[in-house]
Symmetry: D2
Subunit: 390 residues, 4 copies
């Protein structure tokens, strides 16, 4: 390949309009395609420093407003308007309907029940016995390791080290709290320090690989479902019978029945999410607010649980065991993304639990709306009217 | 809630700047937060019609250029530059490194091995015997149902109806080809027509629900892994020993060993993807090109397979059994998104397989780069230098 | 190791009392342990020919009688007494209670919905494209392959060949009906013939391995859950409200609620069976009737589905997607085992579906009894009274 | 149903020959089938007290001797002869071959890395917040609960209480050590005491169900794979190149390659065991030694890990994360079963780890033999010669 085929690079990766423009021209030269719209960004490219390399412009993803969504969470209280960045027609309308239903019923009660971010080094030994004994050594040195982490990084706190023996390896998960950041990178750094301390202090100086694939970073896993990755959040509300009939045109009994039919489908197919759909709302919020959209893979896992109450109302909940979201760091400080966080008062430190609660409530709203639409057969026709239906 | 709390709506959902502006003002009034950046979009709001409701502006997601990536696929041939929309620092650099490695080794050979999009109605009966007999009836009427589909929708062709009995229900998957569209909505519509035809023609007029949760739409599942959803694509290349040493600073033997250690981690954790990470590249390409980012949940599933060849080189492949992507419909026609497809000559009809091959090759590039970085311990330090490491 | 450490072998593996006795003496000499009870078998050792090597005696596993169990299946009709071989105290009593409940409610309606036994060769190619094309070739030659199977083995009929591409391999499942035999060995033989025919007739003479681990023989898998292995059987009955109260001391509503709580547990833990327990009844019947107890691993998978009917009764079903059982071949002809089949009129050809129906009904009975006991807190106390509670 | 259709019961369930005989006669009367062989048991029926109800006789399952198997475990050291109760022809021969291979290579090194038996009550609350707070309360009262357990049962020690929040429930796993017993029943009793103490002492007097289906008793689950159920045991040995060639007629390189092809099959199918087969050996040993054969469902899960060493030898291991076995209680004291334990010096207290090591080594032997046979195509022909091949 000729040297000239290389994408133009600036020495300091400093994200100027000039370099971006050079790259757009380069693409035009090499492929004949114009990037005029991509290049018509209105943000200051300097704001993207640390978020992107070889910056050439922006994707402009339409944002629709949904809501208001009434929250009665621990951290999120009151009415919220929700920015959803998507190109899927009917999504905003459908979520809005769900939000209205929840709000009319008194709002979504949300609870963050656990917070734990991991990096999962695997330690290599000559046999299973050495690996097992190393696990005991880790237990004995947990306080020292907590100190190492505290001394080497600012935010993460080492909670515990989970240990899973297999063959002659010890697979571990170093579990941290990470404040208001998602924390994958900072925990990677903390774990590297910890591992190097282990190598320096354990007599066998064990070899390790910084990830043995059980983190499981950017991928769904039953491990996440069981042990939590990021935040484990539960959203719940009680669907009143008359609201169900009026706004969803459905009897609570059918929603209850459908849940069980869907649960069999979930078990049959080995699906990561038992409800109607979590990924739509999560992806749309993630893009709008500067989250890592790759984390949709972990975050979309979960379960719906519904209970028909004695008075004929319907308890409805969604449990998200691996929601990864941040109000600080990553893409949260980018201009449009920050605004979308700010409109929910979720930007900056001290807001992560609040934000997680809102996301979970949005997912619940989506399930309420789509589940009802599937049952009421509105589903296809709503796509007909609003979207392009392709 | 007061009437005035409602988001301003235009009667025809016709996406004017004026309405968007009213909504931004409304947010300002209700929350105090400014949406100035969100409102500084440069696309024509009319282009978003059918993709969004309650349009208020756009998320501007930074796009970095990666590549060139040499492709020796069935449909994608030659060098490609890849637009990646992300806010995760180091992602573009890391994928670029992987692309360079693949290109130096002769390029990625990619193959679409299956294409099948589903809608999965569940039919309800009084007992298991009736459900079983209904399955036979479906088999006998498959040609008629193909005709119903052909007569009612333009693109989808009904390939087959998979049948899974459980309790007194028959869970089905109606499997379609959908041309260059992702096709979830068009297959939903086709299946609704088919189901209504069934109700009209089967003596029992069976009740059904249009989704029994085994589609499994917008969620990962073992069903997808086994039976395919969207496109099943395989990317492969042979990593030359000297390229591995020079560009990745790693011996092929270690990559081979690591694969097996990671496979145990995959089995242990029940992870949806066996390689290092597919979701990063998929999410970044999906956002850049107007795909549905919620489909990251299905699309990120898969497996890495590596083989040390007799000459010391390394065969490396990734298999994506449920890649959902389109070059037509959905968000592909939005201004910046269309440009990103066009720079890969992947916009419009007849391009879907080509595009799927490129995505799979990008995933492979990401696995090559990250797997090597994990082994070579560059991983943390690269985040230190390039990203904000939060 | 000295030659004399070897277990005494007879030249023709002909299973005489003399050789068995020599082996028992050998054990006594080598370990000091007496095998007097093991050697006190009353069956003719010649009957074990083909079932065992190095025969030394028998395990005497207690058999308890359960029932009567009223069956209203397609094949099994009337009242049955069920032989359960187990050493788990309370098992027979608990299953008997469940059988009584089902019988009082009119009996178990059972349906075999699918029958398919597999051997799953994987074919190895140089790249994914070759593997895909080979899949097409297989489709084109399916009739020829059916003929090869028909010509080489007596019982198995080749139904179809499922194809799953991954990397440069084509994983297949050759699916057969196997009459009244379980059929793992005969399908292995048939598949070997088919594979050798493929090698002789396909231009590339592809290398293959007779099992690529997706059979999935003697192991649970989601593949089995989805695609069936052995027989897919459903047992169902309607629990009458008054019977529930009288015999189970429980309200149907609580059973209904518990099902949904348990379904969340199933999804959370990634469990192979959603009901209370299938393995107990299956293992006990398998040992009594000469089935392969290793197949408990596949056979125990499944789902419970419950529905509260309008009249307050409870529809209850269990679905077993991978029940492997035989009335012919394997251990079914051994003396005590044959008798246990005969007492259910399930020995010999033409009885496999009937037998499968009975097993599924027994599983259902076990779920009814244990689920109720868990809810009614009788569970622990019943072990206290009847079993050793260890 | 007429009263006379009931199986004859003795008042005290005291297991006399007379009652057994009455039952056999009853079966003859009701079904016409003779149970002469079943009734020809030679054990004293009184020995089955606590293991069975409605005793009618025994299943006589053929036992074959395998071995010797050289063990270099922590607890099991020296040469062992292994009793395998099965009716699957070639099983004993195949395992014996594997044992010979392992023994010739110096023996199996085995390690019990964890021991934990569970009962998993689920606690029901009005909302997720209450459930979360209850989890904290449990943590604060863990010492008190340990005391309650210690005071109420003899053997089990409460190690920890795992907590998994979902919806408004708190799913827990009470984890115990259980000495040399399998311990499902004793931990059930201990957990009932603990739960009743909780109800008496927690202000909300929370309702609970003694099993929320995440134990996951008598069923495979990813939970077991991750968190262990029973004993987590690893067996390993180094296959010498010349032994592989001589005894297995195979190159180590092919075994290494096959492992990776099989791992892809495992991920593709979602299989519970990654190796060739664990259930065969486990089931045969379980029946011979009085284990609960239903536990094959949990115990057969696991992973094979193979590594080609620099000297051309092959490290081979199997990891069993949920092996449930006992040397005391349950069926271990039955006459033939006890003898089979005694011939391995595994009967009674203080032997459970030793016994677990031997089982894991047997599983490894089976994998070595069958994996090689599959590759060398001996598989089918060995069934032809030795077994009935049905």
């Amino acid at each position: 390949m000729a040297k000239s085929d290389r994408i133009p690079r600036d020495r300091d990766n400093d994200h100027t309009r000039e370099m971006a423009s050079q790259r757009a021209d380069f693409v035009k030269t090499m492929t004949g395609a114009s990037l005029d719209s991509v290049a018509s960004y209105t943000i200051d490219p300097a704001t993207t420093h640390g978020n992107i390399e070889n910056f050439v412009g922006t994707a402009q993803v339409p944002i629709g407003l949904a809501g208001p969504l009434t929250m009665v969470g621990e951290h999120a209280k009151g009415d919220f308007y929700i920015p959803l960045a998507t190109s899927e027609g009917t999504l905003v309308a459908s979520y809005s309907r769900g939000m209205r239903v929840i709000s009319e019923c008194g709002g979504a009660r949300c609870t963050v029940v656990k917070h734990s971010m991991q990096r999962a080094p695997v330690f290599l030994f000559d046999n299973a016995l050495e690996a097992r004994e190393f696990g005991k050594w880790l237990d004995e040195h947990i306080d020292a390791l907590r100190g190492v982490v505290r001394a080497s990084v600012d935010v993460p706190e080492l909670i515990e080290i989970e240990k899973y023996a297999a063959a002659k390896m010890l697979y571990t998960r170093f579990c941290y709290t990470t404040g208001d950041a998602a924390g994958q990178n900072m925990t990677g750094k903390a774990t590297l320090y910890a591992c190097e301390w282990i190598r320096a202090n354990h007599p066998a100086k064990p070899r390790y690989i910084l990830s043995g694939n059980i983190d499981t970073d950017k991928k769904h896993s039953q491990m996440n479902m069981i042990q939590t990755r990021g935040k484990r959040v539960i959203a719940e509300f009680v669907l009143k019978r008359d609201v169900a009939k009026e706004l969803l045109r459905i009897e609570p009994e059918w929603l209850y029945r459908f849940r069980q039919i869907a649960d069999i489908g979930t078990q049959l197919s080995g699906a990561a999410y038992g409800g109607a759909h979590s990924a739509n709302g999560i992806a749309a919020m993630f893009i709008a607010t500067g989250q890592d959209a790759a984390n949709v893979s972990e975050s979309h896992a979960g379960m719906n649980y519904i209970e028909l109450l004695d008075n004929g109302d319907l308890y409805w909940s969604t449990t998200l065991p691996a929601l990864i979201c941040a109000t600080y760091g990553g893409g949260t400080g980018l201009p449009t993304q920050r605004e979308c966080l700010e409109m929910m008062d979720c930007y900056g430190t001290g807001k992560a639990n609040k934000f997680a609660e809102i996301i979970a409530a949005v997912v619940l709203a989506g399930d309420v709306s789509l589940s009802s639409a599937i049952l009421a057969h509105e589903w296809v026709s709503s796509h007909e009217q609003m979207g392009r239906n392709r």
